[in-house]
């Protein structure tokens, strides 16, 4: 058993994978708490898909894929924030338009290349077992900045989440705060792309925060609980992936999803089993 736990840590690529998985989990949860509470899960999806054409462009131009991906994600996020200000269209609708549009752009750009290569597929499905020391440092630095920024802006982000009109009337720059939050979501996604890839990144952003929300009533406890869940789930996923030779990103997401289903069934007060017992007992 001890050997089962210790063995992966002796390999440098697994050490890097553990660090990146932990940092991605925490960063995504801290930013993702606001995504879940504002019902913005869809924007996470849109940005994740918007990163794809950026990655494709970076690939064509032989530029840094993470940087071009982040740039495309931020441009899309800002465009969504601006266009949904009109109030003529529902935010979800605007996001839907960009979500599909940017993925289409990515596919067209990729089709100009002769073949999918490893670089590009790793961005779609994660490359957590193939990271270098530079990747680890970049992830740690960006992650620390994001967590710090969320902590500094928590009061304003809460005010806007509670009631936009009152926040605006009291003088908060609501549109700017929206864009900052969207940019933070984008950065968190780019960080987590390394771990689980473009397709699955939404799971890190949304699932642990949603799981924790089932059983908590305060933002602070919810965030801490979600961090613990996401971190332990990511590590557990990596262990299973290592020992049974399964896809690392997919395994992390499956463990997190399993946690959500457990919480949905068994969370105190709000879980399905609890409710059933409350209704059956006199």
């Amino acid at each position: 058993m001890i050997e089962w736990l210790v063995e992966p840590w002796q390999l440098p690529f697994m050490q890097r994978a553990f660090v990146v998985a932990l940092v991605s989990a925490v960063v995504c949860v801290v930013v993702g708490a606001f995504v879940v509470l504002r019902g913005m899960a869809f924007i996470g999806d849109a940005v994740a898909h918007a990163v794809f054409p950026g990655v494709a462009i970076g690939f064509v131009l032989h530029a840094n894929l993470a940087l071009t991906g982040a740039a495309a994600g931020i441009v899309t996020a800002v465009a969504i924030a601006l266009i949904s200000q009109t109030r003529r269209l529902n935010e979800d609708t605007v996001i839907g338009v960009f979500w599909a549009g940017s993925f289409g752009l990515g596919i067209v750009i990729v089709s100009t290349q002769d073949a999918y290569t490893g670089d590009l597929t790793s961005f779609l499905f994660g490359q957590i077992l193939a990271l270098g020391d530079g990747d680890v440092i970049a992830v740690a630095v960006v992650g620390a900045v994001l967590v710090g920024l969320t902590f500094l802006l928590r009061r304003q982000l809460i005010a806007v989440s509670l009631d936009r009109e009152t926040a605006k009337a009291s003088g908060l720059p609501v549109l700017l705060l929206d864009m900052v939050l969207y940019a933070m979501v984008t950065a968190a996604i780019v960080v987590a792309l390394q771990a689980v890839g473009n397709v699955l990144v939404l799971a890190l952003l949304v699932t642990p925060a949603a799981t924790a929300r089932m059983a908590t009533e305060r933002l602070g406890t919810m965030t801490i609980a979600a961090c613990v869940l996401a971190a332990s789930g990511s590590v557990a996923g990596l262990y299973v992936s290592y020992h049974y030779n399964l896809a690392a990103g997919g395994m992390i997401v499956l463990v997190l999803t399993g946690m959500f289903l457990l919480a949905w069934l068994a969370a105190p007060k709000h879980g399905l089993l609890w409710k059933r017992r409350a209704t059956s007992s006199p």
Partner: protein
């Protein structure tokens, strides 16, 4: 125009850093010649309205009369095409610290994981960047919680509250800012009788302390109970005076744009005056 100048002179005498109690005493709302167009339609035109410190004014009118639009103009959330809004002599943007706003209940995210006390504290300190809540903040929150009768529920998550309790939270959020001008959007809608009674008493006390109060309402009975003046609005001010002076049914019919043969409404208008 002269009134504007007088107010700005007052504002100069007591700069922004003045204690809330003092600023509350001189927070006069002056709306002059305001016209607002939304999406190509003129929603308000030639609106003149003043609310003096200690006055409680009820904005009454049918749906689509522009009541909420007028509140939004006063809050500085939209800019009038013409006319001016002055709060203690300043445009709304310069008077934000004097403003307390109580939105309609459905505007608020009741599923957010936060306690009653924390939601009220947030309304007071949201515009402060960095730092922690000070003693004065906690005291203001405790006072606001007590005034709306939620002291026993201060630690409860907001999602677990009833409709009446939710309205009290929104009022406490506005009061925690110690406003000189309190704006309320339909405060009596969907609220139980004990909360209605508490609100009537509380608004009376606030007016006595010198707060200027402007509320929109459809509840004529409550409006008569709390308002020192009623302002009948239908795109512009149709009538403005103490409830006792607004007993001509024709005014109400004009405000609500219905035929005089609507006996039911005529009865309501009489009752309200």
């Amino acid at each position: 125009m002269r009134a504007d100048r007088d107010d700005s002179a007052l504002a100069d005498a007591a700069p922004d850093e003045a204690a809330p109690e003092r600023s509350a005493a001189q927070c006069r709302l002056e709306v002059a010649g305001v016209a607002v167009t939304l999406g190509g339609n003129q929603v308000l035109h030639d609106v003149d309205l003043a609310v003096a410190p200690g006055e409680t004014v009820g904005l009454i009118g049918p749906n689509g009369a522009g009541k909420t639009t007028l509140l939004r103009a006063v809050l500085g959330l939209l800019a009038p095409d013409t006319g001016t809004v002055r709060i203690a002599g300043n445009p709304p943007r310069g008077a934000r610290k004097h403003l307390g706003y109580v939105p309609q209940k459905h505007e608020f995210a009741w599923d957010f994981p936060i306690t009653v006390a924390a939601a009220i504290l947030n309304a007071r300190i949201a515009t402060r960047w960095g730092g922690t809540a000070r003693r004065a903040d906690r005291e203001a929150v405790a006072r606001a919680v007590e005034r709306v009768g939620l002291t026993d529920l201060a630690g409860r998550p907001i999602g677990a509250l009833s409709g009446g309790q939710r309205q009290r939270v929104l009022v406490a959020r506005a009061l925690a800012r110690e406003p000189g001008l309190l704006l309320l959007d339909e405060p009596f809608t969907g609220v139980d009788v004990p909360t209605q009674e508490l609100l009537v008493g509380l608004l009376g006390q606030l007016a006595e302390e010198g707060t200027a109060i402007l509320m929109t309402t459809h509840d004529l009975t409550q409006a008569r109970a709390v308002c020192t003046r009623l302002c009948l609005l239908n795109r512009t001010v149709v009538a403005d005076g103490p409830p006792s002076e607004l007993d001509d049914p024709a005014l109400w019919l004009r405000a609500f744009g219905v035929a005089e043969s609507e006996l039911l409404l005529t009865g309501t208008a009489r009752e309200a005056t």
